[in-house]
């Protein structure tokens, strides 16, 4: 049976945890086997005092820890220490017990090193895992809802997170450009303590790095703890890495649906830095997050590019382009249409309807059209419609509205395109009215020409008549003079004189006719009673000679030319005095008010006119009677017609042979003529 002392010693020796007994001065009095083994494995054992002494001393790391424990007021237990041994890092919880005698004097100290290495390692593994998870979730959540322009910053921030977590000196992303022909570093982080001249390398010739390229094409991870591990054919890659000051690295490809976009990498300036499978796994996950982010960015860029392109095209079209939702609210307007809607920017009209902008009538029309398009699914093509611009002037638009469907074919609204055709329309209208004017002018010209032709013919005929007589009877006169027939000579001379007289009258009347059509005309209020009184005064002698009775209705005031109207009455009354037949002339100046205005006239009880001649008497030189019956040039009524027509009226005759004639005419009313 061993003494208690022996028993303690045996237990002491066989303890798995190292245990040391110290004297009050801190010198080792005793240590167990575990302690001896630990100290032997600890390279920094303090052996300054020789082999024997060495056994009395503690290793430096423990000595320092214990001294700080003893001098401090901290609890002796719970002190934790990691120590590197030849077999790896070990972790200890240090317990220090004071040994005192009955009187309380310090006799020594017992130190127990509880080996918690396994526990610690498990704990570290858990912490690493949780940190790992945190990093991954942090990185992936960073990319949620990121704006296009923030992608690069977020990605570099993520590189920092991974780089720091894995204690690398630098982290970076390379991407292929030019369909895989070039490689550029697009993102970079470095620790700040990194000495390497790592900088953004751009536009590398991918073909110059064949080994690398091949690894990427096979989606292989490249992990090197030293550049020496690179094979001989990777000389170019090695030179590149050396120039960047990287001695160990890990590269993980970024691939999306079989396409390699590039790779992400971590580098360290530490030679021999090994990359664990855990680390590589983490990088693979991060690479996947990066790939998604880059893909998303690329898609958004493409979308943005297309949207921009379309926007630019649509905005710069001079036509009005717009889209509306199913309730006819604007969701898109190009620049031209924005202006038409009286807005400065498209946002101002976004969500508004035509009712917010146009008068109700127009808005109703547009709304009805659009609902029809949406309900029927049929486009409205090339509808001409009017619209009011900002300043209220109407414009003409040629509008097409087409339905706009979602993926399921459900109508979402309409897309409208309108072209301003106001100018074209005005031009067409102007052209049309020009053409009409031209046609009118042509027709007038044609009539004028015809009239002139007729006039010239008749005029020359009528002028030739007296002339011919002058010449013919001069011949006759000579013969008669030769024959000495005085009676004949006298008659010949009479004929010659009267021919000359006719000629003179004719020329005078022609001049009057020409003047009645051409001379400038005044436009004033004319009291017809005054006008007529003057005419009757002029004709007084003839009225007396013929014993004529002249009566008159109340004559209204009219608008016109006083002189021309007087001439009109003079000719008409003159005719009435002339063609009276056997009866005593009774002449009446008539005035009759009708819904269309006044009908004025001169009636007589004379010989009258056959119905078939009622029209032609107004043509110049047209006479119904031989010269032997009634004198005259046949111009009087032509002048009357001209005067009435110049007053915008009409002249006609109502008559029958033997029953007198009633010449009637209208004049343009004051109101009707006001526009002249």
């Amino acid at each position: 049976m061993a003494s208690p002392s022996d028993l303690y010693l045996r237990i002491f020796e066989s303890l798995h945890d190292p245990m040391i007994l110290l004297d009050p001065a801190g010198n080792v009095v005793h240590r167990n086997l575990a302690a001896t083994t630990l100290f032997a494995e600890t390279p920094e054992t303090n052996d300054r005092a020789g082999a024997d002494d060495a056994n009395r001393h503690l290793p430096t790391w423990l000595d320092e820890t214990l001294r700080s424990l003893m001098s401090g007021i901290r609890r002796m237990a719970d002190e934790y220490k990691s120590v590197k041994t030849r077999t790896g890092t070990r972790h200890f919880e240090i317990e220090l017990e004071r040994i005192v005698d009955d009187r309380g004097n310090l006799q020594g100290m017992a130190v127990i090193l509880h080996d918690i290495t396994e526990l610690k390692e498990a704990e570290n593994a858990v912490r690493y895992r949780s940190e790992f998870g945190r990093i991954v979730s942090e990185i992936s959540s960073r990319f949620v809802g990121v704006f296009l322009e923030e992608y690069d910053a977020v990605l570099e921030e993520s590189l920092r997170g991974v780089g720091q977590f894995l204690e690398a000196d630098t982290a970076y992303v390379f991407q292929f450009t030019n369909s895989g022909a070039r490689l550029s570093m697009t993102h970079l982080w470095d620790s700040g303590e990194f000495d390497g001249p790592m900088e953004r390398i751009s536009d590398l010739d991918a073909a110059a790095l064949p080994w690398w390229l091949e690894r990427l094409q096979h989606a292989e991870v490249v992990a090197l703890s030293s550049l020496a591990e690179l094979p001989a054919e990777a000389a170019a890659e090695r030179a590149l890495l050396e120039s960047q000051g990287v001695h160990s690295l890990v590269h993980v490809p970024l691939h999306y649906k079989g396409e390699v976009l590039g790779f992400m990498g971590l580098g360290s300036e530490v030679q021999g830095r090994t990359w664990t499978q855990d680390e590589i796994n983490l990088l693979k996950i991060v690479a996947q997050v990066f790939t998604n982010a880059l893909q998303h960015k690329r898609a958004e860029e493409t979308l943005g590019y297309e949207r921009n392109l379309l926007r630019t095209v649509v905005d710069n079209l001079p036509d009005y382009i717009y889209a509306k939702d199913a309730s006819s609210r604007f969701v898109l307007n190009n620049r031209a249409h924005t202006r038409l809607l009286r807005a400065n920017a498209p946002e101002e009209v976004f969500g508004k309807t035509d009712y917010d902008i146009f008068p109700r009538g127009l808005a109703d029309q547009y709304f009805a059209d659009e609902q029809q398009v949406i309900e029927s699914g049929q486009a409205l093509v090339n509808r001409e419609e009017s619209v009011l611009t900002e300043d209220g002037t109407p414009r003409w638009l040629l509008t097409t509205k087409v339905p706009w469907f979602d993926k399921e074919g459900k109508p979402q609204g309409i897309v409208g395109m309108s072209r301003d055709i106001t100018q074209r329309k005005e031009l067409a209208q102007a052209l049309e009215s020009h053409a009409q004017l031209l046609e009118q002018a042509n027709e007038e010209l044609r009539l004028r020409n015809q009239e002139l032709d007729e006039f010239t013919y008749i005029a020359s005929h009528d002028l030739q008549e007296p002339l011919r007589k002058l010449i013919a009877f001069s011949d006759v006169l000579q013969e008669d003079m030769k024959a000495g027939d005085q009676e004949e000579v006298k008659r010949d001379l009479g004929i010659i004189a009267s021919a000359a007289q006719r000629m003179q009258t004719l020329v005078k009347d022609l001049l009057a006719l020409s003047r009645s059509g051409r001379q400038s005309m005044s436009w004033e209020s004319v009291d017809l009673s005054d006008c007529v009184a003057l005419v009757l005064d002029t004709l007084e002698v003839r009225i007396r000679e013929e014993g004529a009775a002249v009566e008159q209705d109340d004559l209204p005031p009219v608008m016109g030319d006083r002189t021309l109207l007087a001439q009109l009455y003079q000719n008409l009354v003159g005719n009435a005095l002339k063609f009276h037949g056997d009866k005593r002339p009774v002449i009446r100046l008539t005035a009759e008010e009708t819904p269309d205005g006044w009908i004025l006239g001169v009636s007589d009880n004379g010989i009258g006119i056959k119905k078939e001649y009622a029209e032609q008497i107004f043509a110049p030189f047209k006479r119904l009677h031989g010269r032997s019956e009634y004198e005259g040039t046949g111009i009087g009524l032509a002048i009357c017609r001209k005067i009435v027509e110049r007053h915008g009226g009409k002249i006609w005759v109502e008559s029958a042979p033997g029953e007198g004639a009633h010449f009637k005419f209208t004049l343009d009313t004051e109101e009707g003529a006001a526009g002249r």
Binding site: Y457, H461, Q464, E465, L467, R468, K469, I471, A472, F473, D475, V476, E479, I495, A499, K610, Y613, K622, R623, L624, H625, G626, R627, S628
Partner: protein
């Protein structure tokens, strides 16, 4: 033929102008035709004469003419209308019509021929020429042409 020769040829002059009537008379003075010259002064009278109505209801006063000298420009019914009426009438159509006019307008000439006029004489300005034209006419119609009876 001989019998016809014996009967004096009647000429109807349709002319509104008294001076021209005088000139025509004078041109015919030298010929025997003057005595049988009948004169009317407008188109209506001419038709009255030819249809023997109105003032010419007595057939003795209005014998059927062998030749009509017709002025174109006359008041009321003008020469063209008279010509049309004559040529539309079965009975009158065969009477030769010679237009006497101052008009030398192509249109008038063409229209007259179209209406079936037999000859066209533009009234010459000089008397001498007019007399010759009338004499030529007389010679042609009454000496050379066999007229339908």
């Amino acid at each position: 033929m001989t019998a016809q020769r014996m009967k004096p040829a009647v000429i109807l002059l349709v002319e509104d102008d008294p001076d021209d009537q005088e000139l025509t008379k004078r041109a015919l003075r030298s010929s025997k035709l003057l005595n049988t010259l009948k004169i009317v002064s407008d188109g209506e009278e001419a038709l009255d004469y030819l249809y023997q109505r109105g003032n010419y209801a007595n057939p003795d006063e209005a014998p059927r003419p062998e030749l009509i000298l017709l002025d174109l420009n006359m008041p009321k019914l003008d020469g063209r209308a008279v010509l049309t009426r004559i040529k539309e009438d079965e009975n009158l159509r065969s009477i030769p019509v010679v237009i006497l006019t101052t008009s030398s307008r192509e249109e008038d000439v063409a229209r007259s021929y179209h209406l079936g006029v037999n000859s066209y004489i533009t009234k010459p300005v000089r008397m001498e020429g007019f007399i010759r034209a009338i004499q030529d006419l007389e010679h042609y119609w009454f000496d050379l042409v066999v007229l339908p009876s």
